[in-house]
Symmetry: C2
Subunit: 271 residues, 2 copies
Amino acid sequence: MKDETRRLEILRISDTGAVKERDLVVREAPVTIFLNDVDLVTLLCSPKDFEYLAVGFLFAEGLITGKKDIKRIFADNKDGVVWVETVDGKKPRDNILARRFITTGCGKGLSFMGSPKHMKDLKATSDSKIQAGRVALLMKEFQERSLIYRKTGGVHSAGLANARGIVAFNEDLGRHNAIDKILGECVLKGIKTDNLILMTSGRVSSDLLVKAARARIPVIVSRSAPTDLSVRLARDLGITLVGFARGSRMNVYSNERRIAAGPTTRRKARR
Amino acid sequence: MKDETRRLEILRISDTGAVKERDLVVREAPVTIFLNDVDLVTLLCSPKDFEYLAVGFLFAEGLITGKKDIKRIFADNKDGVVWVETVDGKKPRDNILARRFITTGCGKGLSFMGSPKHMKDLKATSDSKIQAGRVALLMKEFQERSLIYRKTGGVHSAGLANARGIVAFNEDLGRHNAIDKILGECVLKGIKTDNLILMTSGRVSSDLLVKAARARIPVIVSRSAPTDLSVRLARDLGITLVGFARGSRMNVYSNERRIAAGPTTRRKARR
């Protein structure tokens, strides 16, 4: 946690007056990803796990399909630079970022959006079911592991879980970075994600759905809200999208067949 | 609010079982900004106030300096396209997005970062002071106005205030978009911002500091956490940065001279 936080002198004001004291603040640092010697992108992130971030970013943006595409990877953690060399050695096209799609959520992201046709190839096919009560337990474990958030309030958490527990977890300033880091970890460690649950503390916007789809993740669980576009994509892509997972409560926005809850009733439609 | 939300059928799960019902979800839509006929960027945002967003984005990224630079602006709200024509008519350089700086916070953003030297020209010079109690009252007004957040949990709020109250306010899926929208409103309406307080519901990362600096805003107040880089920039740029403003409590991270609190004591440094 030392790398990810810093103690700064602040003035803390309350009803009882103002006190000068030292407080823990999250660190923010740039990391630049070179793909086959071409400067691809600079991300501002929590300065940790640069390799995971680089690999996850390339994977989630569709620039690599898995570990087999990576020939060499070298991270300079001090200067915040990661070099990735792929087996095919192809330089990223100049215009790879030409379709400058700045995505949102609670911030903005940059997403190399595939065509809708291509997206159809990314349909989640897993048939596995999970008990709603199990989702609640996973969310409890997720929050307990969000140590930097609990110390600083300044990061988002992301996790990948199966029904038994969390298999990958990370925290980062950026909602997208945190997800890229866990996807990168799975790519590098050869962990299959097509039967796992993606957990996030952040709001679910369409770009996050695209990331999950590339990893063939069948279920997304968020503590927070989805957008209408993310719900539409989740329905199209066969992904189960759960929002506002807090305690034993949760909202299922799509493909509810994977969530085993009690008997379902239909409430009279409200205006 | 009709444009910004949509009612969808969901499955709501709780201890008492599962209920199918209709729920309000925030809308997410792309808007593409053309600058002098060149496709500059596509943002995913709440589909409202596209003109404000486009002007605020161009201003906050340093591509225009004020209303005087704008010759014509036309927004197609249906198709999500905004054309901005500037007085100088200069096409944005091909490489204007070449330094692909994806910024973070709780998401990512794309920022046309100026050089540090240039940033020094953006120092906040305002001498005005505000009572801590007044900041708390502004935050209360800010939260009361965050209607879409209270209905959906899916947006961020941004506001500009003077000591008497809020003069510009907006909500958007994107933390950065919400700020761009209020800055754009100020540019178009000729509201001077160099003596105003920027209010945000979101975490304060370095890119947000850059936006505020371009508008010469002397005080930033957030409900949430800052990063160490944003604190450093705020100190360098003469900006007062207040975080965790909740009720009568708040943390002042930089240039505390502008916040009038009670008497200050120094607590023994903690390890």
